[in-house]
Amino acid sequence: MALFCGLFNTPGGRLLADWSSRIEHLEFSTNPHGFATLQGMIPETLAGSFAVYDLDGLPRIHIGYNGWTVWEGRLEDMTIVNGGVRIGALGAQRALSDVPYTALWSTGGYSEWRPMTIDDRANTRTEKFEADNNNRIFIAPKKNEVMASSTIGRMGYAALHGGERYLITVAFTYDVYLDAGYTASLVSCSGGLGGSATSEWSVNGNGASQTGTATVTLTNATADAVLFQVACPAATYAGETGDRYLKITSLRIKTTASAAVYADEIVKALAVFVNGINSTQLDSNPMLIESPALDLVDESYADLYPEEILNRLIALGDNQTEPRQWEWGVWEDRRLHLRPRGSAARAWYVDASAVQIERTLEMLTNSGYAVHQNGRNETQRTAVNADADSVTRFGLTRRSAVNAQTTSATQAAVMRDTALADGANPRPRSAIQFLALYDAAGARWPLWACRSGDTITMRNLPVTLGAEIDRIRTFTVSETRYTVEADRLEVTPESPLPRLEVMVARMGEGYR
């Protein structure tokens, strides 16, 4: 089962060199995001070393087996040393950290809305109005202000400057309580809040409260800003401030026509974005991108690398009652995938030749309480909950205080219990060595076939070895490192993401 190691000018392009018989100290690795690193040494003359060093473009290294890709990536690092060239390559996941991405996808907040001024747009006289963005958009004419027919009060929102996406839908609940002659409107702008304007929605005042909901698909195809405004008749407003108003709540702005914003739509766009700039580094094919089906309300990315965005999205989980962990990565053919963690895992069986198992109480938490605030912002503490089995097993109570940033005592208790579930029975750290890899049918596979995300079961550990044995015997592989010369595979077991971290991330987004 001989591997091929070759250098190509582009993916699937011209073969620059077959290094199979020449490369020394070849090692390659995988991590949760796909092919990770490759190192090796090519013995060369100085001239030959510079010939490699000076190669145009970004050559690709491909490790193949009978037409199957074992490892592939781009040759990034070259060091000319005495006797040859040391090379370092990185897998295609690297492409997700080449170009920063700026775009709004969805926002449900009000903090970025602001009262506009005459400097923003002509006829804007928001000083004649009471306007706020305190969990709403509120524009109300002030008592005794003299209005002209050109007097307009405006609250505006501008999308991220230089973003990749235009505003597409604005959904909101409105309460238009204005007198006749007043008009409440939603206006979209191209070129910022002062740019060319398109009226998208309006309600004329009639002296009564007119309420409803609206989902406006902007007709302006290049809208990068929106504003709510109240236009006035030429008259003095004699009423009390606040008696007449435009109030907008349940506001959501999206840059997609989709009813909900799911992570897969964002990830597909990221793949297209990266491919559009570096077409040879990442494929734009969306076939391996699955949907967590979790509506993401607040997703706005300012100068973030796609890698950062992906890491954030997978931490949010999905819409399952017990949210699943998700993973992203790039394997063969530079195709980005988004899927539940472990859904594509292969199960391997090994006979461990050496086992190292470490138990530490450092991560033990078998008792805890949550600290939260009540409605008056007073600090509260929940009752203590304990895992009796864990206390008995370890002969020790280790208690932690969970900082639950919530005013809900119920939610605080849930977070306390989640932290307890994470920490009451910490998984021992383990490291194993093995010489061969088998599948469930007992067939022997090459060691390099094992990848990050696969599971390994040590089949030569007796089931009666200890109380913890079942938790050690099988583990998910976090990283692999294969040393070709020794035909040796090192694996790093995965440390599962604590459920509390996932919960906190979701809570920050408003999910429960």
């Binding site: 001989a2 591997l3 053919d333 067939a443």
Partner: protein, 458 residues
């Protein structure tokens, strides 16, 4: 039968250490004794030079000259060869391979006229402490050379009958050999495409008839979204292809393809590589995800990892991955589409066992010109005795080096070797399931030039 023969030569310059008949030579073994090291299976898994370890030979030589100056000149000649070994290994232009040629005493297979050969990879000469005595014989010169592990001997060249492209050919060699012998492969009757067409093709070889198994994908046609479609105009193997026409984006499984072959054709238990000839008929960007399910021991299902078929409008072979099973019974094709549109066709599935001695070489077929050329010849040459890396070429007009992304050093040992050319595209159109020219499927003649190889001297 003769005496020891041992020499180092680049084909032009030769340093003879023993001439096979006990005659006078300039380079003699100091104590008249030397035994080669025996190579063993390498632990590392890289290809490019065969599966056996490189071995380092050490020998003490007495270099004889008519005078001291003559001895120095003989030493220089030896050193020139050693220097050339290093330059050749580093890939310097103009440096040719240097071989260690050897035949043990009383050998019946090798001889001075037909010695065992091994390419030298490195070398070193250390002079004795008394070198400056100025004698006409320099005694105790330590020569260290590193060579490829296998001793290569004569070649056995045999050709298959003309076989339709896409069918399994067989080559009857003179006989089986003990150790797998590096084999140069020539395939006549290939179609090479114009410059810029980088489609990958495959050549599978096996030492047993069940090492390569071919199945018609259209056998899996059951009901919608699966159908069997006539593609004879595009030279589909067995006339029809399996077509998947998605009605949604969910994954669907085809009917069964019976892979429970009998007798000598039964698929070997264990690891298998699966290849498929596919064509994405989408004009709107629909992509497909394929995985193969095989039933093992009748009840257990195993799957290949999903393979995405992007926008490829002409047939091509793809490797669907590795899978392992026992008592292979049925195969099922599972496909999901990115949209409920367009279709994906599959003509043939090929299973290549990894549990028996097989090899699959993946390469391009590009002639570097502006048009396709039929009647071209593909050559896969290991070049173990001449170059530091294998070479794959086509030679429509001139030898055009092809790209490849699998180990091109093929070693076989069976009396009958089986081969399958998995190539698409015709002389008139790329939209061909098999290679054709002049409105007929090409026939290939596969010639194997196989070295006999030894780990111990014979």
């Amino acid at each position: 039968m003769g005496l020891l023969y041992l020499a180092i030569s680049d084909g032009t310059t030769t340093c003879t250490i023993a001439d096979g008949s006990g005659g006078a030579v300039y380079y003699k073994l100091a104590y008249g004794k030397w035994a080669p090291r025996v190579a063993k299976l390498r632990q590392d898994t890289l290809g490019g030079r065969g599966p056996y370890t490189d071995e380092t030979e050490e020998m003490l030589l007495n270099i004889h000259g008519a005078t001291a100056a003559d001895a120095y000149a003989k030493l220089q000649t030896l050193m020139q060869l050693i220097d050339q070994v290093k330059r050749w290994k580093r890939g310097e232009t103009g440096a040719t391979a240097v071989l260690l040629k050897y035949s043990p005493a009383n050998a019946t297979i090798s001889s001075a006229a037909s010695p065992l050969q091994a390419t030298l990879l490195d070398g070193d000469v250390v002079l004795p402490g008394h070198f400056n005595a100025g004698d006409s014989v320099i005694t105790g010169v330590k020569l260290t050379v590193k060579r490829l592990g296998e001793w290569l001997h004569t070649t056995d060249s045999k050709a298959s009958a003309a076989t339709s492209n896409g069918d399994k050919a067989s080559v009857a060699m003179t006989g089986a050999i003990t150790w797998p012998g590096p084999t140069k492969i020539q395939v006549e009757g290939v179609v090479s495409q114009a410059q810029g067409v980088d489609t990958r093709h495959y050549l599978a070889l096996a030492d047993t008839v069940n090492g390569i198994s071919i199945f018609n994908a259209e056998d899996a046609a059951s009901s919608a979204p699966w159908s069997s479609v006539n593609e004879s105009a595009q030279y589909a193997r067995n006339t029809n292809v399996l077509r998947y026409t998605p009605a949604d984006t969910s994954e669907h499984e085809s009917g069964a393809i019976n892979i429970a072959l009998a007798g000598a054709n039964a698929l070997p238990d264990g690891l298998m590589a699966i290849y498929a000839c596919v064509r994405n008929n989408s004009s709107t960007g629909t992509t497909f995800r394929i995985r193969i399910r095989c039933s093992s021991r009748l009840y257990t299902s195993v799957y290949t990892t999903p393979k995405v078929i992007g926008a490829i409008a002409t047939p091509r072979w793809v490797c669907l991955g590795l899978i392992s099973a026992e008592q292979w019974s049925n195969a099922y094709i599972n496909i999901a589409a990115s949209a409920a549109a367009d279709s994906l066709d599959i003509d043939t599935l090929v299973f290549v066992s990894q549990a028996v001695n097989t090899a699959v070489v993946s390469f391009t077929l590009s002639n570097g010109s502006g048009a396709a050329a039929s009647g071209d010849m593909l050559e896969i040459d290991h070049k173990l005795l001449t170059a530091i890396a294998p070479k794959i070429t086509t030679n429509a007009v001139i030898a055009v080096t092809q790209a490849y992304d699998s180990d091109a050093v093929v070693a076989l040992k069976a009396a009958t070797v089986y081969a399958l050319v998995m190539a698409t595209g015709g002389a008139s159109s790329l939209n061909r399931w098999r290679q054709e020219a002049s409105a007929a499927v090409n026939t290939n003649v596969i010639t194997l030039v196989r070295h006999t190889a030894y780990l111990t001297p014979v």
